[in-house]
């Protein structure tokens, strides 16, 4: 996909201003940067709570159900968006039911794994029943930042605004319930309801992000910047801001690097964020 840009590709010059200007020359790149920015902000906010709640595995499982949703929509002939949101919503409810039983950690781990395996298996079934999708399987899993339309950017913006607004509204009780569920319950916070609501928002974000970054790479933006932020600071608000800033930084750098080289954007974003994480671990 990136090779198609090579006809207009002029390479890096020694003038940074010129290079930055070139990044904004082509509409596909402007759309990619806009989409990347929206996704990074949303993933930074939602991811911070996900890491705080130790729901990384659930987040991963939801990204797998996004893949199932896309392939189910392909098979049923409904818009992909419907598949993403429908199946991710179902996945969130199933995960909340698994977590809500409040048994040992091990039982939740097994339940989440089983849900993920089933989702992956069904996704594979749908793909193999509907032979047409198979060519797009790579981009379903790994995504493409290129070829994003302005319509997609608008949808992305709306969904991200909804997700961030929901988290902002519930931020205080959610923080309470995440840090100390027992005390929060005693104080009258609806802990289980909040847990379900958070998983639904997480599913929404993952479903939305999957379309751009692919089901597997959502994870890089959800987990790593948030984990880095939580290593560097324990203050909630500052941590969320830091997490968003890091997500934005790696997204912009990753997109720029991918533009000027032949390797995929997913590799750059994941490697950059991992490098920042390692740096934070070593320093802090």
């Amino acid at each position: 996909m990136l090779t198609s840009t090579s006809s207009v590709f002029t390479g890096l010059s020694w003038n940074p201003a010129h290079d930055v200007h070139e990044l904004f020359t082509f509409p596909f790149m402007v759309h990619a940067l806009a989409a990347g920015t929206i996704v990074a902000v949303m993933a930074g906010v939602v991811g911070w709570f996900m890491v705080l709640r130790r729901q990384t595995f659930a987040g991963h499982t939801l990204s797998v159900t996004a893949f199932t949703g896309a392939s189910a929509a392909g098979l049923a002939g409904v818009p992909v968006l419907v598949g993403y949101f429908g199946v991710c919503g179902l996945g969130a409810v199933a995960l909340a039911a698994a977590a809500g039983t409040r048994r040992a950690l091990s039982s939740e781990s097994a339940a989440t794994g089983s849900i993920g395996a089933l989702a992956l298996a069904l996704g594979f079934l749908f793909v193999s029943l509907y032979h047409g999708v198979l060519n797009g399987l790579d981009s379903l899993l790994f995504g493409t930042f290129l070829g994003i339309t302005s319509g997609q950017v608008q949808v992305l913006l709306v969904v991200a605004a909804v997700a961030v607004a929901l988290v902002a509204v519930a931020a205080r009780p959610l923080l309470y319930a995440s840090v100390d569920p027992d005390v929060a319950r005693a104080a009258g916070v609806r802990v289980r309801l909040l847990g379900l609501a958070f998983l639904l928002v997480l599913g929404l974000s993952v479903a939305e992000t999957s379309q751009i970054t692919g089901a597997l790479l959502v994870f890089a933006l959800l987990v790593t910047p948030a984990a880095t932020a939580q290593r560097l600071t324990t203050r909630p608000l500052f941590g969320v801001v830091l997490s968003v800033a890091l997500a934005l930084l790696v997204t912009w750098l990753g997109l720029a690097l991918a533009y000027f080289s032949i390797y995929p954007v997913g590799f750059y974003i994941t490697s950059l964020s991992f490098a920042v994480y390692v740096l934070a671990r070593v320093l802090a």
Binding site: S109, L118, L120, L129, L141, F219, T224, A227, G266
Partner: protein, 277 residues
């Protein structure tokens, strides 16, 4: 059904993978490390793609990457609990590397024609396409994994159930945890090369989850878990044989998750009816 050679190969390889996953899976679930197992199956995917990109033997890359990944997760992880954030972070990077290798592999043209197909095959496996040599290899590896597990079973159980008491008794809990994750890596690699990363997750989590639900006695649970895994493989493969349009890995996972769902609901229902009667 048994007259077909591909079916015999699939059944033998599937059975040994099932037994290994069932046995190891019981401990994985006990230690709440299913996520680590899942991540390792993707590490296997990246390892295989790296080997493909550099033109090395696929299996060498797969095994090296997976066992190293297991040990690295154990080393970076928290002392007291399965650290899902560390796993997730490593996991994300591994996937990014996988994408890089996939793109090197496809742009080099060494995979001419079957571009993404290589990745898809690693991810979802093709249990009906195994050769006799593949089967022999998976039997040997499964045997190694089971023997290693049996050798460390007692200290592992002790360390998993009560870490601090085990440490006080002189069990090297950290080393046990590291070796165990390496072992999970070995099983993940073995299962991935035989049946794909997809089957691994299902066989690791679902049968063991069902066994934990049904009994708290360790050795009975381990046996039950292996039995469930074996049963799902047989049931799934038979279904896929009877209905050729259905992919075998999907059928095996569906069987395993079906058993898990039954184990989750049936004891509760039984109790409910007993109360009514």
């Amino acid at each position: 059904m048994l007259a077909q050679e591909f079916m015999r190969n699939a059944l033998i390889a599937g059975s040994v993978v099932g037994i290994a996953c069932g046995l190891v899976g019981w401990f994985v679930v006990l230690r709440a490390q299913v996520f680590a197992g899942d991540a390792l199956s993707h590490v296997a995917f990246t390892g295989a793609l790296a080997a493909a990109a550099f033109g090395v033997d696929l299996k060498a890359g797969l095994f090296l990457a997976t066992i190293l990944g297991g040990v690295l997760m154990g080393a970076l992880g928290d002392r007291t609990r399965a650290d899902d954030v560390v796993i997730g972070t490593l996991f994300a990077w591994t996937l990014g590397l996988g994408v890089l290798f996939l793109s090197i592999f496809t742009t080099n043209g060494s995979g001419s024609g079957d571009n993404g197909a290589a990745g898809v095959r690693v991810l979802f496996g093709s249990i009906f396409g195994l050769s006799a040599a593949d089967v022999r290899m998976s039997v040997i590896l499964a045997a190694v994994a089971v023997v290693a597990l049996a050798a460390m079973a007692r200290p592992l159980l002790f360390a998993s159930l009560d870490r601090s008491v085990a440490a006080a008794q002189g069990v090297p809990v950290r080393a046990v945890g590291l070796v165990f994750l390496g072992l999970v890596g070995l099983v993940a690699a073995q299962a991935t090369q035989a049946v794909g990363a997809l089957l691994l997750l299902g066989l690791l989590a679902a049968p063991a989850g069902a066994a934990h639900r049904l009994t708290t006695r360790p050795w009975a649970g381990v046996g039950l878990s292996a039995l469930f895994a074996l049963g799902s493989v047989w049931l799934g493969l038979s279904l896929a044989y009877v209905f050729p349009t259905l992919p075998p890995s999907t059928m095996v996972i569906s069987a395993a998750v079906g058993i898990y769902a039954a184990a989750m609901t049936l004891p509760g229902l039984a109790r409910l009816t007993r109360v009514k009667a």
